[in-house]
Subunit: 382 residues, 2 copies
């Protein structure tokens, strides 16, 4: 029974039909905050904050002349042990692509306009602007208006995950999937690469396609090499893309994430710590590491937990803020301010430090880390 | 308004009056599971599962000729930084006692019988039997029936925390507080030691009484020494016991706890990991550690996380259970079985392996660790 003061319906029969989710369930999801209205950047949309039915979190339903559904990017599960997980999961062959350390972006043409969505389905103004600057997408979307380009925004001038890649430098975009609107169906690995080549669009690196029997050994070796070069890891795919992909990362990537988390221990560490350490255990086990090699890994783990924490404690003791500075390219002050408003929408506390030479310095403040370190330095009890 | 089918009252006016908690609040706490009836080992008691009013968790109210209240042992807070916490907390002097690595036990005479309570207020049959075997308490309780002896059960034949102390060996009891029934008021540090000496009862070691200005430096040194000898740390007290004590532990103790937790990662690690690593950060900061010293600490942290996890993964891979064997002294099979029943009351999964030469081997099974490692080894995804 609906009450008189129920908020106006967010969904109608068309949405319900398109998503194959009954209207009452959509209405209920709306009341629970699972789906929300999203009316920004000239879009009138419904954002899926969590998964519902077959719709992934991050799915956007956009109203317009035609209703468009940009599906959320599916969560990629992790294997802790390459053997026997790969054999269990893939029947014959495994295509190995590099997993790059940046942030996940979906680019689509919506109501005749090219828009970039972050993982959660937000439109990031910086990403949308940069994507269209970096990439020439008009021709592609003219011929494939029903495609969604899924890729990683990487490089150092990157407000979410700043990481240096020699072949990228400041900012670049590498594509890992081409998927269909509404169904989320991906192209097979080689078809995708061919199509991207035709439009001079850059895919992530394909590091090999292996018979599944040989895959674990090859992938372990590849991951070690990637790690030595400060690179994150791999995504393993069924070449036909009929099965869910899996991911696997290097010990160095785990250490780098620990370092970051422990720089802001009271904001980030609790959620990060456990799973990173578990990954190290299984990776060392599968690699059969002993002696000096194992000690090296242990030292890397310990150092990546301890050193960044000490740095932050010292910084706070000297009166500085526990914060990180993000660097983005902007043409003017308004663009910087727009990005800060976007961060606040995401509940990220940030201030503008300066705009200079086409770059904005944005300070992301980790408030709990700041408050709690100050308290302990001040004699507060744990 | 009470319903007809309300459970019978656990409390009466006498209890309410004695504890200074209004009856309705006690009844409400009973319905919420904060207090429970405890009718075992010939006691008719109320057990405080959580704190309520001024009563600590672990408080026991025991009915009999006279009603007895054995207060819970107060939680001791931790300082992450000795300076300036000590100066803030203690006005003049700090008495430093050794914190031993065992389990907290309160021993009291109740209805004419000497009973040992664990931290939560449970009567552990093993502890009760051993306490009266190890200690000659009759004369003490004859003269001080209103006292509660608070101490640590330590040694290797210890089912909860088995740790080797050269001066203890298999099983010993060291006393840190003498407190009054009902009020929980402790004796001053030196009065306590004198009284214990009169009855040949052994206190924990007093490592010094320092002016508060000199305390941090001394305690840091003491803690380092204790750590080198695999000992846990210190409890810092107001000599008059008018203020809450504080605790501080060695890096080695933190590492040992990580080792234990990471031996059973999916049962114990998540709760342990974060706070141990935080302690290491602040301790290294206060010690001003750099270079090789800091690297040593990092390596200790990494090794104590990685190595035990690897051991357990290998063990499970070889078909063994993720479990730990506890050793207790028993005179017969019935004593061993009684202790296992006690563990099951505490929701600990345990089985009897054998009783031989007066010792029982009890296997405590860490089921989640077992199940999840098996799953990952089997190719399960994370």
């Amino acid at each position: 029974m609906r009450e008189k003061n129920t908020p106006p319906l967010v969904t109608d029969e068309e949405v319900s039909h398109l998503l194959d989710i009954p209207s009452p369930r959509l209405e209920d999801a709306y009341r629970k905050g699972i789906i929300k209205k999203y009316q920004k950047h000239d879009l009138d949309a419904i954002q899926f904050r969590k998964g519902l039915g077959r719709m992934e979190a991050g799915t956007m339903v956009i109203k317009g002349e035609d209703m468009e559904v940009i599906r959320g990017f599916p969560k990629i599960r992790r294997t802790l042990m390459l053997h026997p997980a790969l054999e269990k999961h893939f029947p014959r062959e495994v295509a190995v692509e590099e997993k790059m350390n940046g942030y996940n972006v979906r680019i689509a043409q919506v109501n005749g306009r090219i828009v970039a969505f972050t993982r959660g389905g937000y439109i990031c103004p910086y990403t949308s602007r940069k994507a269209t600057q970096i990439l020439d997408l008009d021709e592609f979307f003219q011929n494939y208006p029903e495609m969604v380009i899924c890729g990683e925004m990487v490089g150092t001038l990157n407000p979410y995950v700043s990481h240096y890649y020699p072949e990228v430098g400041k900012l670049g975009f590498r594509i890992f999937d081409l998927r269909e609107k509404l169904t989320n169906k991906p192209l097979p690995v080689l078809d995708k690469r061919e199509l991207l080549a035709d439009y001079h669009l850059e895919p992530v690196r394909l590091l090999g396609i292996f018979p599944v029997k040989e895959a674990p050994e090859n992938i372990m070796e590849i991951t070690n090499e990637l790690g030595k070069n400060d690179r994150e890891g791999v995504v393993m795919k069924d070449p036909q893309m009929e099965l869910e992909p899996l991911k696997y990362t290097s010990s160095q990537a785990q250490a780098a994430e620990l370092e970051y988390a422990l720089s802001f221990p009271f904001d980030l560490a609790q959620a990060f710590l456990f799973s990173r350490i578990i990954r190290e255990g299984f990776q060392a086990h599968e690699a059969g590491e002993t002696g000096e090699k194992l000690r090296e890994r242990a030292l890397r783990m310990g150092e990546s937990a301890l050193y960044p924490m000490l740095q932050t404690i010292s910084k706070v003791e000297q009166g500085e803020l526990a914060a990180e500075d993000l660097l983005i390219e902007v043409d003017n002050l308004e663009e910087a301010e727009e990005f800060i408003r976007h961060l606040r929408d995401l509940k990220v506390m940030a201030t503008l430090v300066e705009v200079k030479n086409g770059k904005a310095v944005i300070r992301r403040i980790h408030q709990s880390t700041n408050d709690r370190i100050n308290n302990y330095l001040d004699g507060g009890l744990y």
